[in-house]
């Protein structure tokens, strides 16, 4: 195979990145559902004919390490049977997916009948069937209650999608219009990628492109290994704990033993707790992706996120544990929990090996969805999702954490909407929405602050809320002597009756007009011994009102 010259190599590497970026823009522009076109909950990857990740667009970190599983699953299901014009679809966590709401399209690209690339487009659906609206079902104890399972299927051939299949799938979701619109947008994005790659194949030839792919992956591998080699060799241990599974099992623990030797890392999760009844279990692709996400966070951000960069990493887990649930388990929460805990356990272990690169824990997700009626719009139901009062990011050797930037799995990539707009459009009054003083984990560099929200219900009659999340008992981890961030503390203050704490996995919480949801979200974990925090930084925190005033006795 010809070895590409440095210029050609750089040109092709730029081109691959531009292709996935363009695919992302195309999907963003054409998607129907809000979750895609506003929350950008989708990812794009380019894989080679062996399913190796070649390039990805920076979208959702927790998707990225999982995309090659989709490519591999499609290749396995259709060995030697892919043809130009085909389109494959999957979502099942035991067949290349991570959790059911993430639908993935795999579209093959050929040169003279030989498979060269796979365009992979993954997008989170606003509904995927199952027992509850929106996919997150805290009462689910098996995957069949979570939605429709799709193994790799040939959704289209001859550049046409099979309408009978599309119809069957759309029929199994609650918002068929969004489902169809998003599916078309995903297919369009994948086809655009294929078109660009075909042009590249025409101008450079498959041999040259394949050689470039090998070289790009090798460069990323040596880049990653060069960095890892600077870390201290050893066997390191870290753990992180989930509150519960929503079905009576508390303190579900992820245990990571990380062996770092030279330029190689082995993350052994086999000692993690057994799988649970509730939906905090992780599928295998999601677990591998979480470990890769932790590695990506610890490397330099410039390291290309591709198959080469992840080669130094081996992940071990035992089937039947919470990090590798047996087929049929409930797993929908896994892209946030237990993903976040896997990342935290790995970072905690490696903090010993590369302290300056480790960061304090980022927040956990605690979502609330409210369904009710607006008195100004008789007879019309609304659904509102809480994205406000985000938790804080972790502190690190370069400074304090970001306040309100969110969780490990999104890391500042998820936007909350305008409070004014929410007040204008929903029967909700945001009495307070500010940073929460005292929520950050202390440290030489403290965590970012969580938020405080006082939300007054002005609904017409009773409304219902569902929660799905974690982190009300365990805050984001402090690192290297830094303290943990405060855990979440969500309370319901009824207009009449006794205030009570909200649990992280509750269905059908009754909310009456005048009730107040008092959300106090956790801050990020601190980094390093608090005693080493500079007096200037402490004075600044006090002046800015980021810490509680001890004199007031709060």
């Amino acid at each position: 195979m010809p070895i590409p010259d440095p210029v050609t190599l750089a040109v092709l590497e730029n081109r691959f990145r531009a292709v996935v970026e363009e695919m992302g823009e195309a999907l963003l522009r054409t998607a129907t559902s809000q979750i895609l076109n506003s929350s950008r909950d989708f990812s794009i990857a380019l894989c080679d004919a062996r399913g190796r990740l070649v390039a990805q667009a920076d979208h959702i970190p927790v998707h990225v390490g999982a995309m090659p599983f989709a490519a591999e699953a499609a290749l396995e299901a259709f060995p030697g049977q892919m043809r130009p014009g085909d389109c494959f679809l999957l979502n099942d966590p035991w067949h290349g997916g991570s959790h059911l709401p993430d639908l993935t399209i795999v579209l093959p690209v050929f040169e003279k009948g030989v498979l060269i690339f796979l365009c992979v487009v993954r997008a989170h659906q606003s509904d995927i069937g199952g027992a509850t609206h929106g996919g997150y079902n805290p009462s689910a104890t098996e995957i069949w209650q979570e939605g429709i399972r799709i193994p790799p299927i040939r959704l289209g051939e001859g550049d046409t999608l099979r309408e009978d299949l599309v119809h069957m799938l759309a029929l199994n979701t609650r918002i068929a219009r969004d489902f169809r619109g998003d599916l078309m947008a995903m297919w369009g994005s994948a086809r655009l990628g294929a078109k660009r790659l075909e042009a590249l194949l025409a101008s450079h030839g498959a041999a040259s492109l394949n050689a470039a792919v090998d070289a790009i992956l090798d460069l990323a591998e040596s880049h990653a290994r060069r960095i890892i080699e600077t870390w201290t060799d050893g066997v390191w241990y870290g753990e992180a704990v989930l509150d519960d599974d929503g079905h009576g099992t508390q303190d579900v623990t992820i245990r990571a033993t990380v062996t770092k030797k030279g330029g190689a890392l082995e993350v052994d999760l086999t000692a993690s707790d057994p799988q649970t009844l509730g939906f905090v279990n992780s599928s295998w692709p999601n677990t591998v992706s979480a470990a890769r996400m932790a590695l990506a966070y610890l490397l330099d951000p410039e390291v290309a996120k591709n198959d080469g960069a992840f080669r130094p990493l081996t992940v071990l887990a035992r089937e039947g544990t919470v990090v590798r649930a047996a087929e049929g388990a409930a797993v929908t929460l896994c892209t946030s929990h237990c993903s976040n805990e896997i990342v935290e356990a790995v970072v905690k272990a490696l903090a010993n090996a590369c302290p300056a690169r480790a960061m304090g824990g980022w927040g956990r997700r605690f979502r609330i969805a409210i369904q009710g009626q607006d008195p100004r719009r008789a007879g019309r139901k609304f659904v509102w999702h809480l994205f406000h009062a985000r938790p804080g990011g972790g502190g690190h050797a370069r400074g304090d954490g970001w306040s309100g930037a969110g969780e490990w799995h999104s890391a500042g990539g998820l936007k909350f909407g305008s409070v004014e707009m929410a007040e204008a459009r929903f029967p909700l009054f945001f009495r307070r929405h500010e940073f929460l003083a005292g929520s950050a984990g202390d440290g030489e560099y403290r965590g970012g602050l969580g938020g405080e929200l006082e939300l007054v219900m002005e609904t017409d009659g009773p409304a219902r809320a569902n929660t799905a999340g974690d982190g009300a008992r365990h805050g984001a981890a402090g690192m290297l002597g830094g303290q943990d961030g405060a855990p979440h503390h969500y309370r319901l203050l009824p207009a009449k009756g006794t205030p009570r704490d909200l649990l992280t996995k509750e269905a059908g919480v009754l909310l009456s007009p005048g009730d107040v949801l008092h959300v106090r979200s956790g801050g990020g974990g601190g980094w390093g011994d608090p005693a080493r925090r500079s007096p200037e930084a402490r004075a600044e925190d006090a002046a800015e009102g980021f810490v509680l005033d001890k004199r007031s006795g709060e």
Binding site: A10, S38, M359, R398, A405, A411, K415, V419, E420, F546
Partner: protein
């Protein structure tokens, strides 16, 4: 050149460009060094150079100048260099952190060790006012005087230079903001006061507050700078009003640019887009990609059907400015971009730049790494002795040393390495344009690439080829096109107001009343601005931001084609929205509830059109020299033509070089080109 004169003046990173158009349509470009400490010095220098070129004294030139339009980077630089004014903010109690929360977004997804930026106003100077207005305008809590008095005392104590007043739902009812503003102005004379309901009376607190805070942070700086410039100009003999080009591409008097200083953030690049619009009107074509290659970056904008799109998503120095501004995409590749080996071992060009100082290695000011300009010099595209008309001789040995050093590390010869740097710059530009066009749903292949800025002509043909574009145009005035464009645009004043309730569209009377009120305000302001011009009747342009009930994004819907007279206006507005949505996103949801979020009215005050002079017929020019240049993999002997000596209609065939004192065009093999009498070189890109 005959008086009266009109002068456009664009301050760039390295040079200040001054373009003068005479009464006979003759056009002249003068350049001076930019003076970063006080840009007005460089402006006066440039005017002095121009006067010298015309053989006049500066006071005589200025006395006969009837319009002066200025593009300034003062606000942009203050934001990029974190040299903003010391400011305070008065805001609604319980919501102090809107600008620091940034809607939960953090840039650089995989850089978890990126420290958060310092907010433009620290939390301790974001002072709470006890008050609350509801979304429907109802006053939940009246403005509490005690909290206002305490806040003003704290502002006085902190000796702030400016105050941003940002209260919830002031888009609906600005009374509390006005009350607080009056109190601040009365108590703290000389302090720059700006209200969110004045800057951007639109729903969505982060966009409104952030824009207002930026306005406070740059307001005193821009106001002082423009004041100084006006004084210098007056002292030098200028008697007419000075106009400033704003981010939306229209111009406004100095008072307005000082009031909405955040609106000058794109003042520089806006001139280039204004030039593109003028050339579109002049017959270059309705669909253009403007391609402005500067020292550190390249600015790209789309002109579709003779119109430039406006957007409100601008960020400058990480700060959100939600004012209407031209949709200009900045790419991190320019003449100063440095070729190097990235951390991953891959050859890279940019985004690191040699900047104005030290500049590329060939500037001989200590730059040791090879920049794109160094590569272009090595490849024979530039003439080291004739750069800037010979006023800045290039150091060929320094450029060769820098390129060779990188080449040695990569195992590449001098020419291969230089060609690699050039090719990677082209790729970055082409990929940037491709992503910018797909984002807007545009296929660039039917577009003409309008190349300007000193270096665009060296890259345009290759970039166009890569994008499948068959037409490139390089104006004779390429190096000063932004300054020229500033003279081709009109006065623009826009007023907007959000109007959103829990339900869909308001009734017909409410819609009419709102637009009528906005139009009256726009006309009144324009009448003040145009008191001295012949044309007293501005053009009125209506638009609205609309969306479906449950959507998050609004779509800007132009309403100029809507019949405003007959009944049934809400239905026509709805249909305009459906059609726009369909055009943008391929589908419309005609059964869905339609929401009007913000109504907009822009008044366009036409400035007198400037005379145009076509190039006179003259004999065809022969090549002035031949040069060895590395093209398409080999060193070839290329003819060099003097750009200014070409005859209108004269045909050239690539490979060839066309150069003037300020710009150089590289024609690749297969390209053909001819000079259009209206002042540009039209290139038909070869099949490649």
């Amino acid at each position: 050149m005959r008086a009266p004169y009109r002068i456009g003046c664009d301050v760039g990173g390295t040079f200040t460009d001054v373009v003068c158009i005479g009464a006979d349509g003759a056009t002249l470009l003068a350049k001076s060094a930019t003076t970063p400490q006080d840009q007005s010095i460089g402006v006066l220098d440039g005017l002095g150079v121009l006067a010298g070129m015309l053989g006049m004294a500066l006071p005589d030139l200025l006395a006969q100048t009837e319009r002066l339009v200025h593009g300034t980077t003062v606000a942009t630089n203050a934001l990029l260099e974190h040299r903003t004014a010391r400011i305070g903010m008065l805001t609604t109690e319980g919501h102090r952190d809107v600008i620091e929360m940034r809607e939960g977004l953090k840039p650089e997804r995989y850089d978890l060790r990126l420290p958060p930026p310092a907010p433009l106003v620290p939390r301790r100077l974001r002072l709470p006012l006890r008050e609350r207005v509801r979304a429907d305008g109802r006053v939940e809590t009246a403005l509490d005087d005690a909290s206002l008095t305490a806040a003003i005392a704290a502002l006085r104590e902190a000796q702030v230079e400016a105050v941003a007043i940002c209260l919830f739902h002031s888009w609906r009812d600005p009374a509390h903001e006005q009350q607080a503003g009056a109190a601040v102005a009365a108590t703290l004379p000389g302090v720059y006061v700006t209200l969110s309901s004045d800057v951007l009376p639109q729903i969505k607190e982060f966009e409104r507050f952030s824009t207002t805070v930026v306005n406070a942070a740059v307001g005193p700086i821009v106001a002082r700078y423009l004041g100084r410039l006006e004084t210098r100009l007056a002292e030098a003999g200028f008697r007419h009003p000075l106009f400033v080009i704003l981010s939306h591409g229209g111009v406004a008097p100095v008072a307005e640019a000082s009031r909405i200083a955040a609106g000058t953030a794109l003042s520089g690049p806006a001139g280039g887009v204004a030039a593109g619009l003028a050339l579109a009107r002049a017959g270059l074509g309705q669909d253009l990609v403007t391609f402005d290659v500067g020292g550190t970056s390249t600015d790209v904008a789309l002109i579709e059907g003779g119109e430039a799109a406006l957007g409100r998503g601008r960020q400058v120095g990480g700060e959100r400015i939600a004012l209407e501004s031209l949709d200009i995409v900045t790419l991190g590749a320019g003449g100063g971009s440095i070729g190097h080996i990235g951390a991953g071992g891959m050859m890279r060009v940019g985004p690191r730049s040699a900047g104005a100082v030290p500049g590329p290695a060939c500037y001989g000011a200590g730059g040791a790494e090879p920049a794109v300009t160094d590569a272009n010099l090595m490849l024979g595209y530039l003439d080291g002795a004739r750069f800037l008309g010979g006023r800045r001789a290039l150091d060929v040995a320094a450029a060769r040393g820098a390129v060779e050093k990188l080449g040695a590390k990569l195992g590449l010869g001098l020419m291969q390495c230089a060609a690699g740097i050039h090719a990677l710059a082209n790729i970055a530009m082409a990929d940037g344009i491709r992503v910018a066009t797909v984002r807007r749903g545009v296929d660039p292949r039917g577009y003409c690439l309008l190349a300007f800025g000193g270096a665009a002509g060296l890259h345009a043909s290759a970039v166009a080829r890569d994008l499948g574009m068959s037409r490139v145009a390089v104006p004779l005035l390429a190096a000063g096109l932004s300054a020229w464009g500033m003279l081709q645009t009109d006065l623009r004043y826009e007023v907007s107001r959000s109007l959103i309730g829990a339900t869909g569209l308001p009734d017909e009377a409410t819609i009419r009343a709102l637009f009528a009120e906005l139009e009256a305000a726009a006309r009144a302001r324009m009448a003040e601005w145009m008191a001295n011009t012949a044309d007293q009747s501005p053009a009125i342009r209506r638009s609205a931001d609309m969306r479906y009930g449950e959507q998050v994004f609004e779509v800007g819907v132009p309403l100029d084609a809507v019949d405003w007279d007959d009944a049934g206006l809400p239905e026509r507005l709805s249909e305009s929205f459906h059609a726009r949505h369909e055009a943008l996103f391929t589908y419309a949801l005609r059964g869905e509830e339609v929401v009007l979020v913000t109504a907009r009215v822009a008044a366009i005050g036409r400035l007198p059109a400037l005379p145009v002079r076509e190039l006179p017929a003259r004999p065809e020019a022969a090549a002035v020299a031949r040069r060895q240049a590395f093209v398409a993999g080999a060193v070839r002997d290329l003819p060099v033509y003097a750009f200014t000596a070409l005859a209108p209609g004269q045909q050239l065939a690539g490979p060839a070089i066309v150069e003037s004192d300020t710009t150089t065009v590289l024609l690749l093999p297969g390209d053909t080109a001819w000079l259009d009498a209206r002042g540009w070189l039209e290139v038909t890109v070869g099949g490649g």
